[in-house]
Symmetry: C2
Subunit: 209 residues, 2 copies
């Protein structure tokens, strides 16, 4: 008399869909689904429709790789951005943090990942040909490589530096050093190594009160 | 020249919806949304549709409180379940773990929460009147209170015990004691207290090899 009881099929399907999300395990997916089930049907529909709307309305901008609507790309079509600076990031997710610093007003180019031979991700899997095309148009004076500071990010940066060396542009990389507010005791030794290596002269104005 | 850049509106709406899920913060919601955006449109649609299907197809069973489809409730309509035993749980989420033990074949009654005066949750906010109706039909011989072993769960259990005391049925509670596989050193002192209090005689068969 062992009864194999489970959630009704639509609930199981929802749990499965939630479980596919990054960082969500079976237990979290179940808890999330049950929570959703306890909302009003209109609220559950709003949840589902928000995904459908994104599927219909959002696509990757063919130029920069950020998310665009049918009305266009907020980055590429902004009239007041500096077209002489191009910031290369690994993924569209990296664009907003840079934007939030308020210091950068150039354009972006998302590669859609980084070189990773172990995962079979080579130059052809990234938006590198598109980057070459943009660079060869000649209007870019500086290319900022804002890639991860781990091995794969460094490898991707080095590949791009070599690939683009013949173009007449300045290639820069984000600085590495102590995070602001971080003490010496909490910094790992490689970060501290870079902070020493990249140390800068203190301007007189910063030395005087 | 500070450009206020953000995700396109549909993406922002999706992030907001994901952020409402239990245990999901702003960063996780953003990561989940971006991950979804990188799937094929058909996969994103499947995700959204799974929620819409649940909104349309699933409702709370008016008898037991578990999730039912328009075809009915898999628990209440199962022909081979023991109608003389009723297991009271706080929420529908608690039913499957009990079911997975394979030891229980009776019916269930989800209260939809527990008494919590601080959160303004009283008897009228739970499915207690429905429980009384089921009990008064007279076919139930044992009522198992499978409620949480914390203060609110105990308070809810005590309330039900007093409420139903005049009915001719046996009321039981889940045993408290050491979790299986748990050592004495890791058990908290209250659990150990209950394990001692509820200690049982060892049957001869269990003592001999």
């Amino acid at each position: 008399l062992i009864v194999k009881l489970d959630y009704p099929q639509p609930v199981q399907a929802l749990i499965l869909q939630l479980k596919r999300l990054p960082g969500i395990g079976a237990k979290s997916a179940e808890r999330m689904a049950i929570w959703l089930l306890q909302q009003a049907p209109s609220a559950i529909e709003e949840f589902g429709n928000s995904a459908l709307l994104v599927a219909r309305e959002i696509h990757s901008c063919p130029v920069c790789g950020f998310f665009a609507t049918h009305e266009g790309c907020v980055i590429c079509e902004a009239p007041d951005r500096d077209i002489s600076v191009l910031c290369v990031v690994e993924q569209p997710l990296d664009i907003l943090p840079i934007e939030r610093t308020g210091i950068y007003h150039g354009h972006y180019h998302s590669l859609g990942g980084r070189l990773s031979p172990l995962d079979n991700i080579g130059p052809d899997d990234l938006r590198i040909a598109e980057l070459q095309t943009r660079v060869s148009h000649g209007s870019i004076a500086e290319l900022i490589l804002a890639l991860g500071s781990d091995v794969a990010g460094e490898a991707t940066a080095n590949y791009l530096i070599e690939l683009l060396q013949l173009h007449p542009l300045r290639i820069t990389k984000l600085a590495q050093g102590l995070p602001v507010g971080g003490g010496l005791t909490t910094a790992d030794s490689l970060t501290l190594h870079r902070a020493l290596e990249n140390r800068g002269s203190v301007a007189p104005s910063a030395r005087l009160p």
